[in-house]
Symmetry: C2
Subunit: 388 residues, 2 copies
């Protein structure tokens, strides 16, 4: 088995939303198609990858560093003992001549290709990715579904509490049991009013998380921690700078609400530091590292190994990104669940067509691989890339 | 004052050398020229920047994210109260719509432009950069010279101990009092033989540092720490992964030789974590963060503030990179000194033409700014970029 070609392109996912830190008006993603020499039904098997939102496309690092190394590697050096394409060996080839540390941007480039390689590997075996991963790596048994929550509640011009409440009600009507809104883009008192309005609208059987996107300084982060204590929130996400582990530990010690963080941590080394120094509590807090932004599943499995060493269950992981790749990982590897952005970041956000969210849970399709072919809004991006 | 145009290009600095981690055969840098509307002697003042070796050029992040933001910013928003172009305000413009965390690659892109902006700012005042910085920021008095050491001793095919010793003797003959060799690319016993040969060649009045480039696992790092204890070494650099602060602390506790690290740390947040958790000893260890790779001097000043908070003197800093920008920072801001790679990474490595190293110290030229115009091998790169 060998790689015949790798195609890649940049696709805009611009949106008028903004969180407490950035605008998404110029957001882009990279898409990658890895074409193999394995032919099924007259067509080569192709693996598809993309990066999730929040970090930009990696066109240049892909085209000038990561992809040439993969294509220049001897085909044999990329195979495992069974002759199958090995994502681990491909990872080593992609990272040749890259110095240690500095985990950002290139972690996205590698993550996009890694996703495509796992999609391809599962397609070769004719299995959905969650099953492929579950059978290989999950001795505790895998599932074909995962808990998801609806992340929204962004600030945008002209949006007020009634619109925010309507948005959250829409998510509940879609089948979500848990929703998330942004905080920190408005004064504390206004954010509390937003929280109270949403809690009243969704009722006591559903859960609300809040997300500060790393914006707060220490006094603000602690003031919010104290103000949030009176509410039955699902979690308080990224209060301060994602690398200020000491502040995170202080907030975790103070916060009655569970703390969630990790979407801006892009390597197992950084994740290990978060667990070593960030004061996160394995019995109640949440980890949100996004495999598509952080060197892919090869690296994410290293991160899961670090978690296990530090006494954490994969069930405490709820990846950022709202994409089908992480959803497969959640179902296959026993993660706690996955983010979802209903109607935003399309066509990359969202799950398979025609599969509703029911009681806060979404099923995965039985199509081989990630199932991008079963998503009518997304597959055409790849067909165009391949000239199909 | 306003920015009229920004030119940038990619320049190869390929070299046959390799350290314990990567080959430099495909290494590149980005060069940037920021053209102002200030005219002197009939020509606009232009600031020049480049990134140092070890991380790749940032063509795409510059051309599609960092530079458009700077050029789209209202000219007034980039000025300080005196009407001068403010590197700090430019920094905020360049980092608009960038999420926190993930400090790599884009830190290089911003660093390249930041260097050019400081070069320009000093040229507007007609002062060499060390003086410009020293007068502004250094209450302890600045200098026009700095301690430098010769970093070499790379592994390459066919290079054996006699060639290594010859190389070190050349550095001593050039006026260096301190030299550095790579370790970890050979078995421990071979590296010890290399160290002993170099120590014998340079004699007891000169100093030798050794650099593992983050390659070692825990047992190897500790085995080297114990083996090195018998030698009067200047420092033991980057034994393990640059983000494994726990391992660094363990090595620092064990090592009789001072520990040096930081070249793969690219933000003040990461530097703060190194100081908080890495076990580095303010009275004897060395910090090597490279401003050209880590968001420039605007961010480096934040890092120096973190150092001060944690009880560190700037005198413990000896930046990675061997470039004139860090040399000006060393002289102007009272850093301990600067790396130098005699004859390697030209034309970006090395200091001003015609200024010898004497007793391990090198002077800075009196030309305004960084003095790139006074370096005959380097200035043509920028003249070509500008079409001059």
């Amino acid at each position: 088995m060998r790689i015949r070609a790798i195609h890649h392109a940049v696709v805009p996912i611009a949106s008028e939303i903004r969180n407490a830190y950035i605008s998404f008006a110029k957001m882009t993603v990279s898409v990658v198609a890895v074409v193999s020499d394995v032919v099924r039904d007259g067509k080569p098997l192709v693996g598809f990858g993309f990066n999730s939102n929040g970090r930009y496309d990696q066109q240049d690092i892909l085209s000038r560093r990561i992809l040439p190394r993969l294509l220049e590697a001897s085909p044999k050096s990329l195979l495992d003992a069974d002759g199958a394409l090995s994502p681990e060996k491909a990872w080593d080839a992609m990272m040749r001549d890259e110095k240690p540390g500095g985990h950002g941007e290139r972690s996205v480039a590698v993550g996009v290709v890694d996703m495509a390689l796992w999609d391809l590997a599962a397609k070769v075996e004719g299995k959905p990715l969650y099953q492929f991963l579950g059978e290989r790596y999950n001795r505790c048994g895998f599932s074909n579904q995962a808990w998801v929550y609806a992340a929204g509640g962004y600030y945008y011009p002209g949006k007020d509490i009634p619109q925010l409440v309507d948005e959250m009600r829409r998510y509940v009507d879609m089948g979500y049991e848990s929703v998330k809104i942004k905080i920190g883009g408005a004064p504390l008192a206004d954010d509390i009013a937003r929280i109270e309005a949403v809690l009243a609208a969704i009722g006591p059987d559903r859960r609300l998380a809040v997300d500060a996107n790393g914006r707060f300084d220490r006094p603000t982060a602690l003031a919010y921690a104290r103000a949030l204590a009176g509410y039955p929130l699902l979690w308080y996400e990224e209060p301060g700078d994602p690398l200020d582990f000491e502040l995170n530990a202080e907030i975790a010690a103070e916060s009655q609400v569970p703390v969630a963080t990790g979407e801006n941590i892009f390597s197992h080394q950084d994740a290990r530091n978060l667990l070593r120094y960030g004061g996160m509590r394995p019995e109640r807090d949440y980890l949100q590292m996004d495999p598509a932004l952080s060197y892919g599943l090869v690296e994410y499995r290293r991160t899961l190994a670090v978690l296990a060493e530090q006494g954490w269950s994969p069930g405490r992981c709820v990846p950022h990104g709202g994409h089908q790749f992480a959803l497969h990982l959640a179902a296959g590897l026993g993660l706690g669940g996955n983010e979802s952005y209903p109607g935003v970041f399309e066509p990359f956000g969202g799950f398979a067509d025609g599969v509703p969210v029911e009681n806060g849970v979404v099923r995965l399709p039985d199509a081989p691989g990630i199932g991008i072919e079963a998503k009518a809004g997304l597959y055409p991006v790849y067909k165009k890339l391949l000239g199909w």
